[in-house]
Symmetry: C2
Subunit: 299 residues, 2 copies
Amino acid sequence: MTTLDVPSGRAARIATPAPDDPRLARLSLNQRTVAGWSLREAIDGSVSAGLGAIGVWREPVAQVGLETAARWLRDSGLRVSSLCRGGFFTAPDPADRRAAHDENLRAIEEAAALGAPTLVLVPGGLPVGSRDLAGARARATEAVSLLAPVARQHGVVLGIEPMNPLFAADRGVVSTLAQALDMAELFCADEVGVVVDTFHLWWEPDVAAQLARAGAGKRIVSYQISDWITPLPADALLSRGMMGDGHIDFAAFTRAVSVAGYAGDVEVEIFNAEVWAAAGSEVVATMARRYCDLVQPWL
Amino acid sequence: MTTLDVPSGRAARIATPAPDDPRLARLSLNQRTVAGWSLREAIDGSVSAGLGAIGVWREPVAQVGLETAARWLRDSGLRVSSLCRGGFFTAPDPADRRAAHDENLRAIEEAAALGAPTLVLVPGGLPVGSRDLAGARARATEAVSLLAPVARQHGVVLGIEPMNPLFAADRGVVSTLAQALDMAELFCADEVGVVVDTFHLWWEPDVAAQLARAGAGKRIVSYQISDWITPLPADALLSRGMMGDGHIDFAAFTRAVSVAGYAGDVEVEIFNAEVWAAAGSEVVATMARRYCDLVQPWL
């Protein structure tokens, strides 16, 4: 049985939970946490570890074909906690906007086919050469408005993901949970919700109040976890850490998510070169231990 | 006369403003923008370029002695737009807190001696091993409350600097202008204000409204400018760019600062390895051009 010292100031050594451990029921592996695994490997790895769910990405699904992926996932017994990802709809050019819209329509159809309750939307950054952040944000809202009725028809809730301001220029112009909720609340809760990611939101001054607001409106469609580590790695995109390796208080954050009424899966999504270099089964074992130690008790 | 292409989508080549150009009256060189210059060189460089003010740091002042620095600055005819920096008062240990308090008392005295209207406060990050962000923020407010009456006695306004959430863990736990104002408004406007820095705040969803709030309360004690560039340099601390090299809309931001009633100096503060490697006089010339092109017209 693999063990490690949990870097949370305690001397305890935590055992890897057995696959039948009921604490794993809500734990989900976001595929990108084990970037080296194919969809087949990620499904098998999640099942072997006893996880309740998996968060899948469009690209590895496309590699095996939508129908095959959907069958594999159905047969695995895993829930699909989310499909990553749609969005990237901040371009001003009408042809680009049309192309982004069409791509998002396909993503909604895929989410429905895979049984994913939500499609994660990464809004996109400023268009090349543009400094019009307000305009980009307005276009993101407009793009969501065109997708919302389609998502509803397919039984998929669009999940707007507010992103750490670190990414405001080049990846996600929606920067706070408050702002994401302002957008989502323009629509029905069965059309548009928000993705709550600890890495993106841990610093938000009134995040507990915003989580309560999100919960009251039944807007939390995904809870994703990873840690904020320092020093920030040279590639900011790969700066997420394993829970416990950084500065986020997962007890307080998770409690706020739970008190807000969220009862869904908890998806571990880590972009990190060191995590990617490790063996997939080790990564899943580590995330299961850290989850049981730092997150699950507060759900 | 040095010229360069201004990277703001226009073909115009902008001439370096002459030292008697009235547009430079409110422009201030923050010393750290030309990290290689001593205080003497920074004063001389600012005077030669025709700037109206200089923002000084405690360390180079200490190198020549407070009295000498104060005399040089008085004799130069430059305004001292700010003294950088106090703060770093998030430690929980009583002895550490006392030491930080005493250090800030000295910084207030220095600001008064140098004729700086404001002492810039960088709150500090999470204490080592701590994940209690709310606690660190509360201790920052408490520390300010102990300093405010002293600052007032010295005719120095404390300037709380909200910092990009990029730095929430390791440098500045106050993350938005809204949050900084919540803190500052606990005190009188002649005791505590806020430092408005484009790099830190450009992404804040309701920044225009918060600037209006800050202006209405006469809380803006410093306007600092630098750009947000991508890709983020490997060392996040050195990720500020020259105005025009990044994604910030200086026209919109500056207009909001100006409409809010701010009539003080505009301090260029850039931490960037490439800028630091360039000749000081070139850096000052470039910042003067960019300021006249991108910022000054909107004041």
